[in-house]
């Protein structure tokens, strides 16, 4: 009995190996798809790492200088000197400002009152007005913040300040320059990996159903669990290589440090990739055509992951129901993990909860896969 059991186990292992080899061949022979699978995450992470940021720089503003006096001149010079703004020199009457906004030429306008210098000298105070384009609220707010800071600074330096000043000195921890990459790379990584992994395996089993090879596999000693594992392993390896490429590029090209422990990051990533691959396989198991599988994977997942992963919109602001939905999104957990390990240098002790959730999800999905796997051709 014991030897028989052993023989069975080794048979299962060789099943698996041979199946994995087969899957690798499928993967390697479709060069176009392989190229996209490899290129896509790397290019996207790199591109978005370079491009995405919340910095404000050289934003075009108009100063409506009704004062045209020494103070206003000095203030304009000060604004121009900062790297945040480019002051458009062509002055506009106040009525034309809306049009300038509408055409998208400017993002903000600063209106200096006629009696800027005189009022300052007389009353020691005056009020200027900032107009921003609030269609992009975040940008508008940041611009207001920067402009206000410059003006406050200007009035302090000019010795016009009131007494009793409480000046906050602000330090940005972990990401002092508020660069985009540390913000966006973990989020994009979580999102791209999720979608690519899910899509890869979403077609894997349903394709065999469509081509009819599933029939032959079913009438063989091959067990469902082997089919599922064999479908996942090659993509796990591919995704792991992808991950290494992403990390390599983000440390070299994007200058993103990995403060924490690299093996931990790799281990957590492998866990996350497994979760996504299992989700894909589940989709593949319950659908009948490649087209349906792909539509579910893409239309069904793209927007929700983008919006609920937490890197676009803060989860704590969402209504409870949506928060619950966000907690069911694997990328939400992985996003926290990547951020904490890479940028904060956190260890497993800080991340065991997230890890446990991902592991739980994977097990649940895997169990569902086994349960839903149809060992016959009958429709359910």
């Amino acid at each position: 009995m014991a030897t028989q059991g052993k023989k069975k186990r080794s048979a299962h292992l060789s099943h698996l190996l041979s199946f994995v080899r087969k899957e690798f061949r499928h993967m390697l022979r479709d060069r176009k798809t392989l190229l996209i699978l490899f290129g896509m995450p790397v290019v996207q992470v790199l591109l978005f790492g370079f491009v995405l940021s919340n910095e404000v720089k050289e934003t075009r503003i108009i100063v409506v200088d009704q004062a045209k006096d020494a103070v206003s001149q000095a203030l304009i010079e000060k604004i121009e000197a900062s790297s945040y703004f480019t002051v458009l020199t062509d002055s506009l009457p106040p009525t034309g400002i809306t049009d300038a906004f509408r055409s998208g030429r400017i993002k903000a306008a600063l209106v200096l009152p006629v009696d800027l210098q005189r009022d300052l000298l007389h009353d020691g105070r005056n009020t200027v007005q900032i107009l921003t384009d609030a269609t992009d609220i975040n940008l508008a707010q940041t611009i207001e913040g920067y402009l206000t800071a410059i003006i406050t600074d200007f009035s302090l330096a000019d010795g016009m300040a009131a007494p009793y000043v409480i000046a906050p000195e602000t330090r940005m921890l972990y990401n002092p320059e508020l660069r985009g990459a540390p913000n966006f790379v973990p989020g994009v990584m979580a999102m791209v990996l999720l979608l690519v992994c899910v899509m890869m395996t979403a077609v894997a089993i349903v394709r065999e159903k469509e081509t009819g090879t599933m029939e032959v596999l079913l009438v063989s000693p091959m067990r469902p669990v082997m089919v599922i594992l064999a479908k996942a392993i090659p993509y796990l390896i591919l995704s792991f290589i992808n991950l290494l490429a992403i990390l390599l590029l983000s440390t070299t090209a994007l200058d993103l440090p990995i403060k924490g422990c690299l093996p931990l990051l790799l281990a957590e990533s492998t866990l996350f990739i497994t979760t996504c691959l299992t989700l894909g396989i589940l989709i593949s198991i319950v659908t009948a055509s490649q087209q349906t599988a792909m539509f579910i994977a893409l239309i069904g997942l793209l927007l929700p992951t983008m919006m609920l992963s937490g890197f676009m919109f803060p989860i704590e602001n969402m209504p409870m129901a949506l928060q619950a939905l966000a907690y069911a999104t694997p990328s939400r957990w992985y996003y926290v993990i990547v951020k904490d390990i890479m940028i904060k240098g956190a260890g497993i002790s800080a991340l065991w909860q997230e890890t446990a959730v991902l592991a739980g999800m994977t097990l649940l999905l895997f169990a569902l896969c086994l349960k839903m796997f149809n060992i016959r051709l009958d429709e359910r």
Partner: protein, 369 residues
């Protein structure tokens, strides 16, 4: 009977017969669109604040009360030391540390100037920026009241700043983002449907049957895009209704203009999908290629991070991104009541893309090998 209506009829029949795909491509996006906008909210209500008050004076206590009373911050801890507070940041329990130095009150009254120290967890850039801005403005407000207390009657000096946001004065994120998210939705739906359709005929082999008929390539491509164009417009319309019914957002500008632009825009998106379709041999390939570009379109479209913040080269590249234009137009028309004249550059750019992509797709579709 001319050929195009015949082809169109066939496409429609097939679309409506495949209920699964129809459900996924119409019902799923609409459902998502009802639920997901609830996530659109950058306004931070509960920024976790750790306070290190070394002064423990009257003034410092009033400052802290004012901050916690603002509604934006939640006091998580009065830490004894900065190191303790920092630990809270590390464990993600706190987002911001406010440290008041000892002798704060004394120095403020005696020297007329004092600094407080603010440390922000800047990993989440958005929260860091918004949080520190809130904090700064609360401190400034407190500052004014301190001045009034200490020098009753004296007006605060210096240049005060008032600000107002045009077009969206209440700074409602839903108004500014929902139309653009709707645009993303129709891009995904339209792009995917058109990208997979021709490839599917290739995979099942029915394209051979089409290729031995005298159907003109132009008619074939048109027949493949018009139904999905209409379907995407239906999704768009339902989306607008959802925005209105569930979120009360009404486009300020002309609906006609909006539809006109979206119509042209969809032609460009479908042209892209069809082009992908003519290059690919399997649905899987088509989907991956299309997905790759849609992701780039979305993230470089200026919606989630402003174009303004991107490197200059990326801003040029973004002009070739149809989603950049649709985002701009959505905001121009729905919020700024822009007219045709304002959106003309966008319209022309998208129209040019539509022409180039569709012509390219027609040329690249081969009836004969």
């Amino acid at each position: 009977m001319s050929v195009l209506p015949v082809l169109l009829r066939k496409e429609f029949l097939q679309i409506f017969r495949n209920k699964a795909i129809l459900m996924i491509s119409v019902a799923m996006p609409v459902l998502q669109f009802i639920v997901l906008p609830m996530a659109v909210n950058y306004e931070f209500k509960n920024i976790n604040l750790a306070v290190v008050d070394h002064d423990r004076s009257d003034l410092s206590r009033r400052l802290i009360d004012r901050i916690t009373g603002s509604g934006y911050f939640r006091l998580v801890d009065h830490a004894a030391s900065y190191a303790q507070a920092y630990a809270l940041i590390e464990s993600d329990e706190a987002d911001i540390i406010l440290q008041v130095p000892s002798g704060f009150e004394q120095r403020l009254v005696r020297e007329g100037m004092e600094e407080v120290f603010v440390a922000v967890n800047a990993i989440n850039g958005m929260k860091a920026g918004v949080g520190s801005a809130y904090l700064t403005s609360i401190i400034a407000g407190y500052n004014r009241s301190v001045v009034e207390d200490l020098m009753p009657g004296a007006a605060p000096a210096g240049i005060a700043v008032t600000s107002s946001g045009l077009f969206n004065p209440e700074r409602n994120y839903k108004i500014s983002l929902l139309p653009s998210i709707l645009a993303i939705m129709i891009t995904i739906v339209g792009g995917m449907l058109s990208a997979l359709n021709i490839v599917k005929e290739k995979e099942t082999g029915t394209i051979e049957q089409i290729n031995v008929t005298p159907i003109r390539k132009r008619d074939f491509i048109l027949a493949k895009s018009i139904p999905f164009w209409i379907l995407a417009n239906v999704v768009f319309t339902i989306g607008l209704l959802v925005i209105y019914l569930f979120y009360g957002v009404v486009p300020q500008g002309s609906l006609l203009l909006l539809y006109g632009f979206v119509g042209v825009y969809l032609l460009a998106v479908m042209g892209f999908g069809l082009l992908v379709s003519t290059y690919c041999t399997s649905q899987q390939q088509a989907m991956f290629v299309n997905f790759f570009f849609i992701m780039i379109f979305i993230f470089m479209g200026g919606l989630f991070t402003s174009l303004n913040s991107m490197p200059v080269w990326a801003q040029y590249v973004a002009r070739f991104n149809p989603l950049t234009h649709v985002n701009e137009v959505m905001q121009l028309v729905t919020l700024k009541e822009s007219t045709l004249r304002d959106i003309l550059p966008n319209l022309l750019a998208v129209a040019a893309m539509a022409v180039v992509l569709n012509v390219w797709a027609v040329l690249n579709y081969r009836k004969t090998s």
